[in-house]
Symmetry: C2
Subunit: 242 residues, 2 copies
DNA sequence: AAATATATTGACTCTGAGTCAAACATCGAC
DNA sequence: GTCGATGTTTGACTCAGAGTCAATATATTT
């Protein structure tokens, strides 16, 4: 491995990021179907052939964009899990992280779902598939650690469910709320209400249903949110301190 | 309108159903990307041009398939809502309907999500878009009616949320559970557990969290499920009486 | 400076959605 | 029955865009 090799590797990695930046912009604006590789090549000022030196297929590009997103999600989650407070407050910090992520990547979940469809997933590179799975697992672990802490602390007294099942319940509601909040369904249910607030409310309902202490009615959610915002997510401009 | 016109209309409608039957089979097997209109034309034994006498685009065909599915979903829901019992039992009948639907159309929700993406939706025919919305609204109303009945009966004493918000919370969890249950996420959370059972459990958690009476721990869920199965969904072969 | 190795390109192929002029069927008038 | 008019169906064609690869350009070694 020569000296110049290090520079080349770095330049290659930079070019890959550049491609992903442009691909992400196009994907967010017009969706996967409308992502055009000739246009993408033009916009990054490399030839189409060069794109294929980095990515196996168009699907592979989309997966790489999604993986970068979910990596950021995992970082948000881990920050949330570090929040100093009761288990319920830390869980709320994860909820905040989830909202923060949703505000940065508004329709990440639609993409995530498309990715997981057989015909899409199999067209992506195996290594990238693996990397994507890893980041998902990081998100899972962040929530899981709070659930086990809550159990040890006695904040989940009545629950006989294993921690994975509890994470599953919370994650299902969070993802379902994101999806229902966006998409044509939205207007039917919430007349202009903030979908991120709705998502947090729904998760609170689930935590109450699990018997997580303290109950949401004994919790000053707004005050906690303000603290989370101030202490660990001060860059979250979407957050209006109620 | 001549006499023969009636026959022609009927034949046209039958041909449309035939096309949708074949398209549905292909979509379930290989997904939207792999739906090939040349193959579809061959399989229904009409030319490609004829497909375009019925549908505007490939997306339009997929939407028509999805609309047929969601119509059946609405019918299941309305059957569920008619179940004789307490509000909580009727809600469980809707859950049963939702599972029954999911077993007939295993990845309907992935499709539904794809449909709602801007670039897809706008390629479908306006009338079909409208028809799809109507069937979604029927599902919504079935759940909504049970929620308002529960409120009137005093089964939801502590809730200050409007009924639409309660429907939103339940629907979010149901859809989220379906999505998490299928897709690569599944194995991470539930080691081979039945995703439909998990979905019902998650909805129970939400109902408990909303303070819906009676609480799930005072409910013999299996007995209710058996009654629902026997009385209104006896064709549900996926259901193993616990 | 020439020879060799490596990196980049864009014209080309190939698949598949969508079109439309021509072929075919139906039907009423004579 | 046949003729023309009207309505229906067809499949060869166009065109866009993903993916390829021989030719070209650039870097490195001798």
């Amino acid at each position: 491995m020569s000296v110049t090799q290090a520079r080349k590797d770095r330049e290659r990695a930079e070019r890959e990021e550049l491609i992903l930046d442009h691909a992400q912009r196009s994907l967010l604006k017009d969706g996967f179907q409308n992502l055009n590789l000739d246009d993408l090549a033009k916009s990054v000022e490399y030839s189409k052939g060069t794109l294929y030196l980095h990515f196996k297929t168009k699907e592979d590009i989309a997966l790489a964009v999604a993986t970068r997103a979910i990596r950021e999600r995992a970082e948000f989650f881990e920050r949330g899990a570090k929040f100093k407070g009761t288990s319920r407050e830390r869980m709320r910090a994860i909820g905040f992280a989830c909202c923060h992520f949703a505000s940065v990547y508004p329709d990440y979940f639609s993409v995530e779902l498309m990715l997981k469809s057989q015909s899409f997933w199999e067209k992506a590179d195996a290594l990238r598939q693996q990397a994507h799975g890893m980041e998902g697992a990081r998100c899972f672990r962040a929530v899981h650690s709070i659930v086990t802490d809550a159990m040890e602390a006695g904040d989940l007294p009545q629950s006989h469910l294993p921690p994975e099942r509890i994470v599953f319940a919370i994650a299902s509601t969070a993802i379902g709320s994101h999806i229902m909040g966006r998409s044509g369904h939205g207007p039917m249910f919430l007349g202009g209400a903030d979908p991120l607030k709705m998502m947090c409310q729904n998760v609170d309902i689930v935590l109450d249903g699990l018997g997580w202490k303290p109950n949401s009615k004994d919790l000053d959610a707004d005050a906690i949110d303000r603290r989370i915002h101030k202490e660990i997510f001060s860059e979250a401009t979407w957050f209006k301190g109620s």
